[in-house]
């Protein structure tokens, strides 16, 4: 595990350095998500951001391949970035790192969810990283299921909060299989499975996550405050030759 973390840190730094040079190595797929942030405060307006998820490194481990994914805004206008590890086959996510720019400086935050798991709710910020892996459901003949994930999440020394995540899986209408491997960025969404996640900490803030059967990232993620949709998929990555 220690080696994995070291690898993650090296990859994070490498990705950052290479991104700074505008020519990172194309290590794997890339995809883009558009998020509409609904106005939540009086007088505020909704705004839209596009995020590019880019696999900047791959790592073969005893439990399968891990992708090191970097997330930045497509136009680089939003000065917040994330990096995480994703196991595309098993649908687990971990080692989430985020940094944000304000007060004229970058602020880096502690690693979130160091240990990979199939459920992750992004606790702060802009980047749409809520995740409930759909791998468990992949083999089920019937995709209707219900489960509760209970965790005592450490909050402070000698203090934790008990959270129950109720996850309901439902099958949307069956549609034609997706053709996401076209390689030209087109997405032909084929909604296959939708999760409804209710967190006991904020029961009104339930999320829904819709998956394609084949893609390793969700098609849509909705909460009362924002709606994110996958808008482009590049199986062989994106060129940085410009």
């Amino acid at each position: 595990m220690k080696r994995l973390i070291q690898f993650a840190i090296v990859s994070w730094m490498l990705g950052t350095i290479l991104a700074g040079a505008d020519r990172p190595a194309v290590a794997g797929p890339a995809w883009e998500v558009e998020t509409v942030y609904h106005a939540r405060l009086p007088g505020a307006t909704a705004f839209t951001a596009q995020w590019r998820f880019e696999v900047v490194a791959r790592e073969a481990g005893p439990d399968g391949e891990w992708w090191h994914v970097q997330v930045r805004s497509v136009d680089d206008q939003l000065r917040t970035e994330a990096h995480f590890r994703l196991q595309p086959e098993t649908g687990r996510l971990g080692s989430v790192r985020v940094r944000e720019y304000f007060r004229d400086a970058w602020h880096e935050y502690p690693v979130l969810q160091d240990e990979p798991a199939d459920v992750f709710l992004m606790p702060f910020g802009l980047i749409p990283l809520d995740f409930v892996g759909r791998v468990d459901a992949a083999g089920q003949a019937a995709r209707e299921s219900r489960r509760t994930v209970s965790r005592d999440v450490p909050l402070a020394p000698r203090q934790a909060v008990r959270r129950h995540l109720e996850i309901n899986a439902g099958a949307p209408d069956v549609v034609a299989p997706s053709s996401w491997d076209a390689g030209d960025g087109r997405v032909a969404p084929a909604p296959w499975l939708t999760y409804q996640i209710t967190d006991s900490l904020a029961p009104g803030d339930s999320r829904s996550l819709t998956w394609d059967r084949d893609l390793p990232w969700w098609l849509e993620c909705r909460s009362p405050g924002r709606t994110s949709r996958l808008i482009a998929w590049y199986p062989r990555g994106v060129s940085h030759a410009e």
Partner: protein, 845 residues
């Protein structure tokens, strides 16, 4: 003794199941800076009136030297323009203080909260391009720069359920302690919103059984301090709540505080609510520092009268290190005041307003701590000079300033023609009861700018409710023949008017255009016909004689798609663009275009003129400036040989269904007995145009003939439109814009011209109306009066005044003055010798 007491209490506490369980605290490495919440009352950032309500008095605040003016002047942008106007409209006191969407507690608390944690505190004054920035100015600009910030709110929908005690506790600890991220707390559970930045907390708790009784003191920035504050005072707010515990695990909780918070949020995206504030440019100002020595202002070198700087903006801030002279061009008809603010200078100085000979102009009034020079109404175009003379150069970094106020109403006619057979007839009405002094300004394009022309006028004062009509040569006996002028009429009273163009060489055909009472920055050019038969011309004037206007003319296809490149124009100050569309746009664009949207960065005035290439037919229509959700036509002629076309454009961003209902002479839907068809419906997506002949829309109406049309939109969206009708065999072409209910009047004036018909419409009314028509001579004396008879709701009458007066109007009739018992629409249709035009009746009080 003290230790024994504590021990005793502890033992008693344990016996009662109470344990003093612990405490926790967190503090960010920085403190949210204190500042001012900048209430929307008076739009203080734009007006400088940062003192009321709720607030403390601010000693020595800038007052006149408002942050927004400093921003514009320092960055070389036009002050008191879009940036400033937006703030007044959206962050200012509304015109109607009883507006249900307004409350005095509205302000910038969210912008200040966000700025105070996302930006490093400005704590020293600065200077940029000779403009002095106080700490309060800098904080104001940063506050505005964050007023529209995006947020992540906990809970995400707090209007459904405010934040729970557990979510508050967890979010506070997670953000401030674990992530070292600031939070903002909306502290008011009621309808008011009061945001405060949180940068630390102290928590203590006591466990009673499985209940942890928590007292949390949050450390907040203070938003009700003076704009210049750099204080480090902290606002502490205490919240009490219970957490249900399973050992050291929180499993639930509830508020004990009577006033818990509404929600908490973090800043996610920086966004200025005011779209005209540029963050990067604002940072040039907020990061500025004072230089080692004073720098002079951008108007230098203006140390003498011959080198005086021209005043092109209504406000200027400068430095008085040496004499400063300003030249102020004024136009006849303007009433001019100049307010001079020297109160921030540390050395005495004098201000004088003079004419070009150095003689003092007007009167001087001292108001509070500044002077106002009342130059009064101007009766000639001339230059005034403002002289600012320091006794000794100032030594502080503050600015002096002045503000020029010009009062007058302007009315425009973007085209005049009185050469090559053309005549222009002008009709003017004084709309108010008081006499109106009128000042005529003729402009003409010239190399690099405009030429101003003056012609002595036979009309200098229009009596209240008075009316004059005549050819240009009758108003201006010395006027020279020219087809290249445009006209501004200045007055301090409301006027209405119309212009009728005619050319005897082409059969004396008439085209009428109303006097334009206001410019606009978005205009719609609804009719566009350029082919082997038709031509269309456009005339747009820039009435601003100090600043150029940038225009973009974008043609659209009827299906709403933009076609071709927009025509980008720069109209120099006081200049006009006039052209045939066939020259302005390539033929392939015109072949597809149905209408044109005009966007300008300044208010411009314009109209379109169109006709047949042989000029046997032509008509003028003012450019449309705003749509309405319900519109009406005038009378639709049904006689053989007459045709009527209707054109409707949806300039809105959303789509709508346009429903056109046809009514007969009795005010009944011409299809009332049709079980299926009641109205014609056309869906207009954004920027689509609908055009059709009325006969095609409503063939063979069972209860016809059709006399007028009502146009409604569902959902209600403003659309614009106009009607064109005529008779080719009789050589008549008439056109007019569709009208809405707001354009109804109960009295008006109609110029008397042979062939006049009055189209009186009670289509939008709810009660029967009757119109009294008085024939008046040129002096306004009544020569005779007739009545229209009753006009029922939803009906229209087309009246021949001559018939009403028994065959001919009284001798000496110059105009008709009409009054109605109810608000109605009234058009004047003029059909002379087979030529026709339509003008809208002229208002008067």
């Amino acid at each position: 003794m003290r230790n024994r007491t504590i021990l005793t209490l502890l033992v008693l506490g344990i016996c009662a199941g109470v344990l003093p369980a612990g405490s926790d605290s967190a503090q960010l490495p920085y403190q949210a800076w204190n500042g001012h919440w900048w209430p929307f009352v008076d739009a203080a950032m734009a007006t400088g009136r940062a003192n009321k309500p709720y607030g403390s008095p601010y000693n020595d605040w800038e007052g006149f030297f408002a942050p927004f003016d400093k921003y514009s002047l320092a960055l070389g942008e036009a002050p008191r323009w879009d940036f400033w106007a937006w703030e007044l409209q959206w962050h200012g006191t509304p015109e109607n203080p009883e507006d249900p969407n307004w409350a005095e507690w509205y302000g910038h608390c969210n912008g200040w909260s966000a700025a105070s944690v996302m930006e490093i505190e400005p704590n020293v004054p600065g200077e940029y391009n000779g403009i002095y920035f106080r700490v309060g100015d800098k904080k104001a600009l940063l506050t505005e720069a964050h007023q529209g910030d995006g947020s992540r709110v906990f809970p995400e929908d707090p209007d459904v359920e405010p934040i729970s005690a557990v979510l508050f506790h967890v979010t506070l600890v997670e953000y401030l302690k674990n992530l070292a991220k600031p939070l903002i707390i909306e502290t008011s559970l009621g309808p008011q919103v009061w945001n405060s930045p949180c940068f630390g907390y102290d928590m203590t708790w006591t466990d009673v059984g499985n209940t942890r009784q928590v007292t949390t003191i949050v450390h907040l920035g203070r938003g009700s301090e003076a704009p210049d504050t750099t204080s480090t005072f902290v606002r502490n707010l205490t919240y009490e709540y219970d957490l249900e515990m399973d050992g050291e695990v929180i499993t639930g909780g509830a508020w004990r505080s009577a006033n818990p918070p509404h929600f908490v949020w973090e800043v996610t995206i920086r966004s200025a609510a005011n779209p005209y504030l540029d963050y990067e440019r604002a940072r040039l100002l907020t990061d500025s520092v004072l230089p080692a020595s004073l720098t002079d202002d951008v108007a230098e070198n203006n140390d003498t009268r011959p080198t005086a700087a021209e005043v092109v903006h209504p406000v200027f801030f400068g430095r008085l290190l040496d004499p400063d002279y300003f030249r102020l061009p004024v136009e006849a008809g303007e009433t001019v005041d100049v307010a001079v603010h020297l109160e921030k200078l540390d050395k005495p100085a004098t201000a004088t307003l003079t004419d070009s000979q150095g003689a003092a102009v007007g009167t001087v009034e001292t108001v509070d701590n500044y002077q106002v020079f009342h130059a009064g109404k101007q009766y000639e175009d001339r230059d005034l000079y403002l002289e600012l003379i320091p006794t000794v150069p100032q030594t502080n970094f503050r600015n002096y300033g002045f503000e020029v106020t010009r009062e007058s109403l302007s009315f425009f006619m973007p085209h005049l023609a009185n050469a090559d057979g053309w005549t222009t007839r002008m009709a003017l009405v004084g709309q108010e009861t008081e006499p109106a002094e009128v000042f005529f300004h003729f402009y003409r394009n010239a190399e690099g700018g405009y030429d101003k022309q003056h012609f002595a006028s036979t009309l200098t004062t229009l009596e209240g409710g008075g009316y004059r009509m005549g050819l240009l040569e009758e108003f201006f006996p010395d006027i020279t023949p020219d087809n290249e002028r445009w006209l501004r009429i200045r007055s301090d009273r409301q006027l209405s008017g119309a212009f009728l163009f005619s050319n005897a060489a082409y059969g004396g055909n008439l085209a009428a255009v109303p006097l334009v009472a206001a410019g606009a920055r978005k205009l719609f050019f609804n009719h566009l016909a350029v082919d082997a038969t038709w031509w269309t011309g456009i005339s747009i004037a820039n009435p601003d004689i100090s600043h150029p206007a940038q225009l973009s003319l974008q043609p659209y296809r009827p299906d709403g798609e933009a076609v071709g490149d927009p025509l980008e124009l720069e109209l120099l100050p006081g200049c006009r663009y006039i052209n045939m569309l066939g020259t302005a746009f390539p033929p392939e664009t015109l072949a597809e275009a149905g209408w044109i949207e005009i966007n300008a960065d300044r208010e411009v005035a314009g109209f379109e003129l169109f006709g047949t290439n042989d000029l046997s037919l032509f008509e003028g229509v003012p450019l449309q400036t705003q749509g309405q959700t319900t519109l009406y036509t005038a009378y639709i002629p049904a006689e053989s040989g007459w045709w009527t076309g209707i054109s409707i454009v949806n300039p809105d961003a959303g789509n709508t269904e346009v429903r056109i209902s046809a009514y007969n002479a009795n005010g009944i839907n011409a299809y009332a007995n049709d079980p299926v068809f009641q109205y014609y419906a056309a869906t207009l997506d954004s920027h689509m145009k609908f055009v059709a002949l009325v006969d095609q829309l409503f063939p063979d109406p069972p209860l016809g003939p059709v006399v007028w049309l009502k146009i409604e939109t569902v959902p209600a969206r403003p659309v614009t439109g106009f009607v064109l009708y005529g008779n080719f065999s009789e050589g008549v072409l008439c056109g007019y814009p569709l009208v809405g209910a707001s354009e109804r009047r109960f009295r008006g004036i109609v110029p008397w011209l042979d062939g006049t018909r009055l189209i009186v419409s009670n289509a939008a009314g709810s009660n029967t109306a009757a119109v009294t028509i008085a024939a008046c001579d040129a002096g306004g004396a009544t020569l005779g009066t007739v009545s229209s008879g009753s006009i029922s709701i939803r009906t229209i009458k087309r009246l021949d005044p001559a018939e009403l007066f028994g065959g001919t109007v009284p001798a000496g009739t110059a105009f008709l003055r009409w009054t109605s018992s109810k608000n109605i629409h009234l058009w004047q249709e003029i059909l002379q010798d087979g030529q026709g035009t339509v003008v809208i009746s002229l208002d008067y009080e």
